[in-house]
């Protein structure tokens, strides 16, 4: 059984307008998303800005009011608040936020910030609690003198580490990492990602790793879901997604990874333009008449794509030929 099973998750935000301020329409931030996260793995969720990644992540932590669908954990549907309470759900599932500065209360000292989940879930003695906070700071590579400082006294990378320390504090089973490094420069990105990996090995944590950067996701994730306009357009293993992408949206994202090799820059540019051309010409083939993605169909046991059955098969066999 998977650690978490997300089934047909929908989160719609009402749009109110008119004289009576009635609900006239809705933003379909997440519109029918299903995937499973296994214990100990890092599951990647990739998509452009506004595709609904953060909303999906927040729903899994229980921060978002879900319109329909279910999220099963230990056999209970945690979209219902009473089930979350019954399971002490947030003891096991924590979140690292996209914006490290706004996710740390500017009026609280680092000690109180990291100890917050401990105070609610573990009720340690004062000394044990302080010891745990010091150990957590040590694990994320910060000195003990951070203890009585305030968040604005740290750099972006250090703040993100504090966010990680808070998420790890109760030794959870799953951490939702919402673009944990997208605000950091490249060298610091690598540091933070590496110790997230280290913590994962040592504590046996699963991550739902949200990112718009396929380069970073490749470094972190075994299984990946590609999200577009609130729906999943492709699910697969790292190999499926990077070496046999089927959906045009995935291909576009892959083409957008910057090429560092100077010699192949021209070739890269050409292939990117080619993908863009296909995307412009064949929109109607890849999306239904409302511009939404099709339901997912399985092409191999690990790989699924959001296309009509016939086109999916056809593309898959083309891919196969190219391979052969």
């Amino acid at each position: 059984m998977s650690l978490i099973e997300i089934k047909d998750l929908k989160v719609h935000y009402p749009i109110r307008s008119g004289f009576w301020n009635r609900i006239t329409d809705s933003v379909r931030a997440v519109d029918g998303v299903s995937f499973n996260i296994e214990a100990g793995e890092t599951y990647g969720l990739v998509g452009e800005s506004g595709s609904g990644k953060s909303t999906t992540g927040k729903s899994v932590v229980g921060l978002e009011k879900v319109t329909s669908g279910s999220i099963m954990y230990k056999g209970l549907d945690i979209t219902k608040a009473e089930n979350r309470r019954k399971l002490d759900y947030n003891h096991d599932v924590q979140m690292i936020f996209q914006d490290s500065l706004s996710s740390l209360n500017p009026r609280k000292r680092i000690e109180d910030i990291i100890a917050e989940p401990l105070r609610n879930f573990e009720h340690l003695s004062k000394d044990d609690e302080k010891l745990r906070v010091l150990q957590l700071l040590n694990i994320v590579g910060l000195d003990a003198d951070a203890l009585y400082k305030y968040p604005h006294q740290f750099s972006g990378g250090q703040r993100q580490r504090i966010g990680v320390a808070r998420a790890v504090a109760t030794n959870p089973k799953l951490i939702i990492a919402d673009e944990p490094v997208s605000a950091l420069d490249l060298s610091v990105q690598a540091q933070v990602l590496n110790f997230m990996k280290k913590i994962q090995r040592e504590f046996g944590i699963s991550y739902l790793f949200i990112s718009h950067d396929l380069g970073v996701v490749r470094h972190m994730c075994n299984n990946i879901a590609i999200m577009n306009r609130g729906r999943l357009v492709e699910i697969g293993t790292r190999d499926d997604i990077y070496n046999h992408p089927l959906h045009i949206y995935t291909k576009r994202l892959l083409a957008a990874i910057p090429e560092t090799d100077v010699n192949s820059r021209e070739a890269h540019r050409a292939s990117r333009l080619a993908v863009e051309q296909v995307y412009q010409d064949q929109q109607s083939k890849y999306y239904d008449e409302n511009g939404a993605a099709y339901p997912l169909v399985q092409v191999t046991p690990t790989h699924a794509v959001a296309l009509p059955q016939t086109i999916a098969q056809q593309l898959a066999s083309q891919e196969g030929e190219v391979q052969a």
Binding site: K58, V61, G62, L63, D88, N90, H91, Q94, M95, F97, Q98, D99, S102, S103, L104, N105, P106, R107, K108, R109, E116, P117, N120, F121, D127, D128, K130, L131, R132, L134, Q135, L136, N138, I139, A144, D145, A146, L147, Y148, K149, Y150, H152, Q153, R166, N171, E202, F203
Partner: protein, 316 residues
């Protein structure tokens, strides 16, 4: 699970005391220290603070030594006595009553009402605004309709009517009557900031850490709007001194046998008093101006202390 953390960190219970001490040395100064250094850096504000605190203490304690009913007795011998004499430091009014003593007792009454009114109406307004802004949805809707209803009532008229129909009232009942009508402005202000603050990720992080709503409202959000609260409270205090004074001036505040700054300023209603007997009303008017200016000075310093980018004082 604790073992898990022991294993992966080289810090153990033995290091606790030493590390705590190291951290303490690097600790950021407390808010009280920051505010104090801010006052030290701004001499006029320091003077304003001393004036306010000194004056309030003086009238509160001084009023204890004055026998009010006796003071308010008519004394024909003192009819418009000149100021700066041995018996009447600030002269006497038309009934021969000492202006200086009236000023002390009157200030005590007026400032007491202003403090009481500020405490009650601000506390209520802050709670109302925080709860309304945080919970949003139906709760917010209901609370805002009550707010709208209260705003619709003509405030001054309602107070005058209430004061007229309540047979025996004193400073305390008057404070409560005022409080019914003075929390709305604060609540609206606090609500709008709370709405913005509730959207921030640290609130989401607290929810995800299992903290309950009340703790989030009063321990997480409230400290973050403390600068707004402090500034609003100081300004309402200055304003509230005017509330009682204004109504007493019109004759609808404290009963006439109870001196207040308002009843003293009302002496200026008589054109004779304005020109000839200036000492009957000028001290009270000056006192109000000086107090309100000082309070707004102190409010500015508090706001600067709350906003790190505006600070002038240096801590350490």
């Amino acid at each position: 699970m604790a073992e898990n953390f022991e294993q992966h960190s080289d810090i153990s219970a033995a290091d606790l005391a030493r590390l705590t001490q190291e951290a303490q040395a690097e600790a950021t100064p407390s808010t009280a220290k920051i505010i104090w250094s801010e006052f030290k850096a701004d001499k006029p504000a320091m003077a304003a603070l001393i004036i306010i605190v000194g004056f309030i203490l003086f009238v509160m304690i001084g009023a204890l030594f004055i026998n009010t009913p006796k003071m308010m007795e008519t004394n024909i011998m003192g009819y418009f006595n000149q100021p700066f004499t041995a018996d009447f430091w600030l002269g006497a009014d038309s009934a021969g009553r000492s202006v200086a003593k009236q000023l002390i007792v009157g200030s005590r009454n007026s400032i007491g009402i202003a403090i009481g009114l500020t405490v009650i109406s601000s506390t209520f307004g802050i709670c109302w605004g925080l709860i309304s802004g945080y919970f949003n949805g139906y709760i917010d809707w209901g609370m805002q309709r009550i707010y709208d209803f209260m705003m619709m009532l003509p405030m001054t008229m309602m107070i005058i009517v209430l004061v007229t129909i309540i047979p025996h009232y004193n400073s305390v009942t008057l404070t409560f009557i005022f409080s019914i009508f003075y929390w709305e402005g604060t609540s609206r202000l606090i609500r709008s900031r709370t709405l913005a603050e509730s959207e921030k990720d640290y609130v989401a992080a607290s929810k995800a850490s299992g903290t309950n709503h009340w703790k989030i409202i009063f321990r997480e959000i409230m400290p973050n709007i403390s600068s707004l609260i402090i500034v609003d409270c100081t300004l309402s205090f200055a304003e509230n001194i005017g509330v009682e004074t204004g109504l007493s001036y019109l004759g609808f505040g404290l009963p006439s046998q109870t001196p207040s700054l308002g009843t003293m300023i009302a002496n200026a209603n008589d054109p004779n008093n304005i020109t000839q007997y200036w000492w009957t009303w000028l001290p009270a008017a000056l006192e109000i101006i000086i107090l309100c200016l000082s309070i707004s000075y102190v409010g500015q310093v508090l706001r600067r202390a709350a906003d790190s980018s505006q600070r002038q004082g240096s801590v350490n």
